[in-house]
């Protein structure tokens, strides 16, 4: 239980420290150190879990099982790599005059706080705290998105705040309903908001209330997942914030929101004994895939484009979890992991590319491999990984999802095919000339941090060809927990 405390305490403390000295030249290093500490703690925790199964902590307020432990590890890892990426990136931004001292402080401290919120949301056992953490994560990211204080960034942040605020309010109503349903069945003295208790009693929960609750929860957390048609905040927030934030938004926040949805789905399925929740998720998933794919075609801003691709991928995952079954759930979890890795890697590469070209408009970024082959190849390979080219992990999960969809929901398969095909055409036709061809971009002042890019891509590659035993073990167990 000590590593758990560390996981939560480190970023919290870090945010305080960085709020004081984030503007100092080595603030960015301190940031890295804190993230690394969090990462180490998460490694300890995972080893603990590997050794001795699920654990409770702080009289059952915290709960680590195989469904969230790998998400904790993933979050900590990407939090760490992103902090590494932020070092040169934010420095260059500062020299471009986009960041003042105060903004630097705000940025670093909020970055740590954001990590804290997400880790809290992942580890807590209390549905109420889960809601609080999600809301807090929204607030921190709002500040991070608006950190440049440009009109565009403010507009994006405002929309993000209002839409996600309203959405998350629905989630609160859902939580209240959940609580209401729980009160009837759970003995007094037992906390009816703890997921573990709810899960134990889920078959008793009143189906009518649960159905209603799930609708509110799905709309609420679904807004943060970026499910169409609740997705409108997502492209703006991704495109206008600093690139590291786009990376963690796509890589982590969406995952955590989806994780919340899954937790709720488990309870709802238990209460309803039918596939209601699953069908809703399938519908949202397919809609998001189509909307994401077709929106890709019209993009000119590179970060905006990749945020739409995040919508598409979130749709695929939601579809998979909605479909349920051991294979689909397994694939969904795998997709969560690999998408987080590859998408953040792509955003790292994109960030450097945009800095080199001095713009995010794709027509003006050309021939990257001429100037810096690493960034160019990073972008190219990352894009191919995102587009589901083997042997990267996304292909593995899409393989499982599509093949099992072909039998469970044959009518959905052509929709997915259409979505994937359109997405491929749209993204690749834009990335190709950015990487290849004659160039117009200029080299950077500071060496780009490409370790994160290739680390992530390497992991994604590994997961496509070989999934470690314990990870597989987790996935299988988690898939079993999700059931459906």
């Amino acid at each position: 239980m000590s590593p758990l405390v560390l996981i939560l305490a480190t970023p919290l403390f870090g945010s305080v420290v960085l709020a004081l000295m984030g503007h100092k030249p080595n603030g960015r290093n301190v940031n890295v150190i804190f993230s690394f500490g969090t990462f180490l703690a998460s490694v300890f925790l995972t080893t603990r879990i590997v050794a001795s199964g699920p654990i409770f902590a702080l009289n059952h307020q915290f709960f680590i099982d195989s469904l969230n432990v790998f998400l904790v590890a993933l979050t900590a890892l990407i939090g760490f790599t992103t902090s590494v990426f932020s070092r040169p990136y934010m420095r260059i931004e500062e020299e471009h005059g986009k960041m003042t001292h105060n903004r630097m402080r705000l940025y670093f401290s909020m970055y740590q706080l954001f990590n804290f919120c997400m880790l809290l949301a992942l580890t807590t056992n209390n549905m109420g705290i889960l809601w609080v953490a999600m809301e807090a994560a929204t607030l921190t990211t709002v500040l991070l998105v608006s950190v440049y204080r440009t009109p565009a960034s403010l507009e994006a942040a405002w929309k993000y705040f209002i839409l996600c605020g309203v959405g998350i309010a629905q989630a609160l109503l859902g939580t209240i309903l959940l609580y209401m349903a729980a009160q009837k069945v759970i003995a007094p003295g037992v906390n009816p908001l703890l997921w573990s208790n709810l899960n134990a009693a889920k078959t008793l929960l009143n189906p009518v209330i649960m159905a209603l609750a799930f609708v509110f929860l799905l709309v609420g957390y679904g807004t943060k997942v970026g499910l169409a048609p609740l997705h409108n905040w997502l492209p703006d927030a991704h495109a206008e914030g600093p690139t590291p934030i786009s990376a963690v938004l796509s890589g982590l926040l969406l995952n955590v929101a989806l994780y919340a949805v899954i937790r709720c789905k488990i309870l709802t399925d238990g209460a309803l004994h039918n596939h209601f929740a699953g069908h809703l998720m399938i519908g949202f998933g397919l809609l998001s895939v189509l909307v994401g794919a077709f929106s890709l075609l019209r993009q000119r801003d590179i970060k905006r484009m990749f945020s739409y691709s995040s919508i598409e991928h979130m749709g695929i995952m939601t579809f998979a979890f909605g479909m349920g079954g051991s294979i689909a759930n397994f694939a969904g979890l795998l997709h969560m992991t690999v998408h987080a890795l590859s998408k953040s890697a792509v955003f790292y590469a994109v960030g450097h590319a945009a800095q080199k070209a001095g713009t995010q408009i794709m027509e003006n970024i050309r021939g990257l491999i001429k100037v810096s082959p690493t960034v160019g190849w990073g972008l190219m390979i990352g894009t191919l990984a995102i587009l589901g080219m083997p042997p990267f992990g996304i292909f593995a999960s899409e393989f499982l999802i599509l093949t099992s969809a072909m039998h469970q929901l044959p009518w959905a398969a052509p929709i997915l095919l259409l979505g994937l095909a359109v997405a491929f055409g749209a993204i690749f036709s834009r990335v190709q000339p950015m990487v290849f061809g004659e160039t117009n971009v200029k080299p950077l002042a500071h060496p780009p941090a490409l370790l994160p890019v290739f680390l992530h891509l390497g992991l994604a590659l590994m997961l496509g060809l070989y999934i470690p035993g314990y990870l597989n073990h987790w996935f299988v167990q988690a898939a079993a927990i999700i059931g459906g």
């Binding site: 609080v132 609580y179 908001l193």
Partner: protein, 219 residues
């Protein structure tokens, strides 16, 4: 005794609904803030009653907290914002008031028969209030949709949050304290951030009319 308290809670509930409609119909920002404060008061009172009935002392705290936060602190902040930003003028709505009212009534009916079966099952002191809470949520949602200025939107958001708290206390006789605290904290931080934002939006766009915030779009 409990009979009376239940009637009281139902009274507060209907009062809340009334206020929601009033907010929908209200054009002046400053009045919106006042209505919001009244909502806060109602919620606080209702919470107090529930606390008295169910003898949960943590509900007294939450009642007090609501009182401080939503009757004094936040309205005060809002008033200062209005003064500083000088946005005392009338708010034109995107849909005209009568039709909004009509839609509002439809929503109320809808949410009532949505909540009906649940209220039947409810074990809490006043089962009927859930429908009203739901209606209030939807009404404030609609208000957010139909207002084209930043501040009214925020107020709509806050009133929605009020309705939620009311739902929590009346329908489930109170969430656990830690959750209540968390919610309150989030709301407080949120309002501060919004306050800061509005100044920046003001200086970037020379107005708080969010119809200016339409540059991020697909051409």
């Amino acid at each position: 005794m409990t009979e009376l308290s239940i009637q009281l809670i139902n009274l507060f509930a209907s009062f809340l609904l009334l206020l929601a409609f009033a907010m929908l119909a209200q054009r002046r920002v400053i009045n919106l803030v006042n209505i919001y404060a009244m909502q806060g008061l109602t919620v606080a009172a209702a919470t107090g009653v529930v606390a008295y009935v169910t003898h949960q002392e943590h509900l007294y705290y939450s009642a007090a907290m609501t009182l401080v936060l939503k009757v004094f602190l936040i309205p005060w902040i809002l008033r200062r914002l209005i003064k500083r930003l000088d946005v005392r003028w009338d708010v034109e709505t995107l849909i005209n008031i009568p039709s909004m009212m009509l839609i509002g009534i439809v929503l109320v009916v809808f949410s009532f028969n949505l909540a009906l079966p649940i209220s039947k099952l409810s074990t809490s002191v006043s089962p009927g209030t859930l429908g009203i809470a739901l209606a209030c949520v939807l009404l404030s949602f609609m208000m957010m949709i139909t207002r084209s200025k930043a501040l009214p939107q925020v107020i709509g958001f806050l009133s929605m949050e009020n309705a939620l708290v009311f739902a929590a206390t009346s329908a489930t006789s109170g969430m656990p304290m830690v959750v209540e605290l968390g919610i309150a904290l989030d709301v407080l931080v949120g309002i501060f951030i919004l306050g800061v934002f509005m100044f920046q939006i003001r200086e970037q766009f020379e107005s708080l009319d969010i119809s200016h915030l339409e540059n991020l779009r697909e051409e």
